[in-house]
Symmetry: C2
Subunit: 215 residues, 2 copies
DNA sequence: ACGTATACGGTACGGTTGTATCAACATTGT
DNA sequence: ACAATGTTGATACAACCGTACCGTATACGT
């Protein structure tokens, strides 16, 4: 094992500890000491690999974001028709497994912090909604041009509505007020309203079929 | 001025200071010392009127909740038809003035905390969504029975969707990502979808007419 | 009028935080 | 082999937190 490999392993273990602490006890409980204890290393070690706490959080969040982006990209593979794309997007918009739960919790926690800290508001972490909105709007516009969208709907309005609904449901799921199954069902009904014609039968159907089944 | 009057004034001033600090710097910045400084009193005084910090937060949140409930009740006065009721509910569902902004920020902050602290999840502060959901569901059910609701819609599904959308938009407005006007416009379009017939013209029209106009 | 409860100020205490300092040890390049 | 560099530990430090303690003054009931 190379020394730089070892270094990378250490850094990975520590960022994983950050996510565990945050998922279990919340963002405010993520202290340098708590992370060190969770990772089973000394405080000094955490300091060594991530000079400052801000640096530690930054890389942890970046890695998690990268992972979730990759997850969505994978799910998006082969989804060509706008409805299939929307299906994939909404499937990731709600926290189901522990991993996506950590992501949503981290994201929401930071979003709340950014409300009163304009320094944090500049974080690239928080640009995702804008990008997602234009992306979804484009998909719905394409669907309208293809004649797949229900008549009389404004793509941008529907995009904003759908994303806001997904965000609201995501928080509700986080808070344990709603089950992931309920949330995805609600989102599906919203999607069914936008697309009068049934979803594509065989090609990409798996994404909708086994949803809500795996814990 | 009576002593108990004075006491009440003091307590009011201090809880107002709590809200100002929270609105300006976030919930995490609400410390006993910061509140004392904001209110222009000594730390000991804050301790005197609210034994513990938990007690201080509890009464502050209760008072704010009571105020917002009263606000909604006032807006609900004279709104009899389900659509008018929904109009009133949605008008309060988005932070517009500074007061409602404080309320939404407080609520969201606590909701995020409650995700990882089941002790906090029992707080009555967090029962509002459930109550609101059954209330809205009841309104939509009544609208359906009256034939005012668009056909083929499930009242409960639409209620959950509408509230989740309002919650998502509320956070977006808090974060400065969306203006209150945009948010209310989106919510109105959602309402227009549920109620095919136009809103009541004269009787309660003011609630919809001057919306988004007053700062 | 007087004793007592309330109102208030200053300050101290124990705990936790992020970060810095001082050492010891291992690994690597030459 | 040795100097240099990276790795790990223990501990210290200044700042902050909520709360407790010790006073004094003011206002009230009787």
């Amino acid at each position: 094992m190379n020394r730089t490999d070892n270094r990378e392993t250490r850094r990975h273990d520590i960022t994983e500890a950050v996510l565990r602490v945050m998922t279990r006890s919340g963002l405010h409980a993520v202290t340098m000491r708590a992370v060190a204890a969770e990772a089973g290393v000394s405080l000094r070690l955490v300091q060594h690999y991530f000079e400052t706490k801000q640096h530690l959080m930054h890389t942890t969040l970046n890695r998690l974001t990268e992972e979730m982006t990759q997850r969505l990209r994978t799910r998006l593979t082969g989804a060509h028709r706008p409805r299939d794309v929307m299906e994939a997007v909404l499937a990731e918009a709600v926290p189901t497994d522990e991993r996506s739960r950590a992501f949503h919790l981290a994201y929401t926690s930071y979003a709340v912090l950014a409300v009163t800290d304009e320094t944090l508001a500049a974080h690239p972490f928080l640009n995702a909604p804008d990008a997602m909105e234009t992306f979804v709007t484009r998909q719905l516009t394409r669907a309208r041009d293809d004649g797949d969208l229900a008549p009389g709907l404004d793509p941008r309005t529907e995009a904003v509505t759908l994303l806001a609904t997904a965000a609201g449901l995501g928080v509700a799921v986080l808070a344990g007020q709603r089950t992931p199954q309920e949330a995805t069902a609600i989102l599906h009904s919203g999607l069914a309203r936008l697309f009068p014609n049934p979803a594509s039968p065989g090609e990409q159907g798996e994404a909708t079929a086994e949803e809500g089944g795996h814990k």
